[in-house]
Amino acid sequence: MSLNNILDQPLTSWMKDPGPDNDIVLSSRIRLARNIGVIPFPNRATEEQLNQVVETVKNSVGDLTKETGTAFMFLDLDKISPLERFVLVEKHLISPVHAQEAKYRGLLTGADGVVSIMVNEEDHLRAQVILPGLQLEEAWQVANSVDDILEAKMDFAFSERQGYLTSCPTNVGSGLRASVMLHLPALVITNQIGRVLSAISQLGLAVRGLYGEGSEAIGNIYQISNQMTLGFAEREIVENLQSVAGQIVEQERLARDYLFKNNNEQLADRVFRAYGILSCARIVSSQEAMRLLSDVRLGVDLGIIQEIDPKIFNELLVKTRPNFLQKIAHRDLDAMGRDMMRAEIIRQTIKRQT
């Protein structure tokens, strides 16, 4: 695996392989926050201390490769361009915050893109596992074993009372953030999304729109995660979210059934209009792309559109992001240039299918 591989391929493996309930659950993610000994957290560490963390982490590359059977590599964020860092953000391998500051910041990642570990983000280590579909428990098992491998070489900051110690007290304890990304177009179209989201927030879970501002979600993609990390066993947190996600999936299925049976013509019209625009348009903004792709994906999932592989939806979600577009264009693009390039890529990807 090379850096170019990581940067140029729009799909990391979690996007390619289907998982359970993948018509609604795009991905399941587990993130563990860990810090090393009494080295100050990145917000207070000296450059020397940050470097000490980097060197310690590099020592685990071999162990991770050997014990997981997947090649791991350490990527120094200071050695790649800002554009490339933002491509990593669009691929969900690092956070936007992590792309800002590059010196002594790193990414430890496996060739399959399932495991990625941010080094010196808000905490010394943020290990993330992403799997396709609804597979939170499986993701937790992978994260747990990665944590064991790392722990074999490092003294993690830990107290008997507060558990794993983290920079922000909202992560302390298990250091675990579990989340699922859900595509919920039918709940939005049938105006039920508000009811569902407010019910979720009563359960100690946080909801946000993936690409939108606040609770508005462009492309009808929502991320749901646990809020509390202290006082619960990891398994409880994971099982709770898995079961809530399962219930939302059921609600979305019911809403899709309802639309399919009662509003079939309107639904088909909406879906084919979106398909028509995406197959022919010459200028498409990022927001318009997200909206229309959501409609097309719903049509594909319901069998209204049959000639498209649902996989291209995930592929296009990444390919049409502004930084990724510039990366494949090999040049700077202004807003109009990006919108034209986006339209072209969407047309090509859809045509390749038919």
């Binding site: 957290f41 917000n43 008997e160 922000c168 909202t170 946000r208 006082g231 709770n240």
Partner: protein, 176 residues
């Protein structure tokens, strides 16, 4: 009915909360209800958790705000140099030792934003100390009770012996 938190004032606010599919009822007095801010924390759409935290910290009587007026008793972490005021401004701690230095101020905060104040999850082998052993003993005690109430006395005896052995190990480790 007395308040579940302070157990002093009468409970006037009654909250029902679902955590892990289990219903929890919480009965609080007016003061504790305000302090926990249960209602507000639940749904924060466009939120910055750090701003939210900083807000909580600044308005907390007796800690951040009050201490700022009295610089003399302001706690400072001697490992990373972070002061409690800095923490209440940024919402982030500076190092693992901050948890010890600011433990008094952190307890009420954790009670508010977290599900509890005692870690109940994974324990690292290297730095977990005797916690793994303690958890194991706790688990075995629960098993013991189950066996006794089911009148499975042979199994109960085995578990009791195992607990004894582990407690001996724990004492030896503690004495090191």
């Amino acid at each position: 009915m007395l308040c579940d938190d302070c157990k002093k004032r009468p409970a006037v606010v009654h909250l029902t909360k679902m955590v892990n599919n289990e219903k929890y009822e919480k009965n609080l007095c007016e003061q504790c209800a305000k302090e926990t801010g249960e209602a507000q924390i639940a749904f924060q759409p466009k939120y910055s958790i750090h701003n939210l935290l900083a807000g909580l910290l600044n308005f907390e009587p007796g800690t951040g705000a009050a201490l700022t007026k009295n610089q003399g008793v302001m706690p400072v972490c001697d490992n990373c140099g972070m002061s409690y005021t800095e923490f209440s401004r940024s919402g982030r701690l500076g190092c693992a030792m901050c948890y010890t230095h600011f433990s008094q101020q952190l307890e009420p905060l954790l009670r508010r934003v977290q599900g509890g104040t005692q870690h109940a999850g994974k324990v690292p082998g290297r730095t977990g100390g005797t916690l793994m052993l303690k958890n194991k003993i706790q688990q075995l005690r629960q098993d013991l009770q189950k066996y006794v109430s089911n009148e499975e006395f042979e199994k109960a005896a085995l578990v009791r012996d195992e607990i004894k052995q582990l407690e001996k190990d724990l004492n030896e480790k503690g004495g090191e």
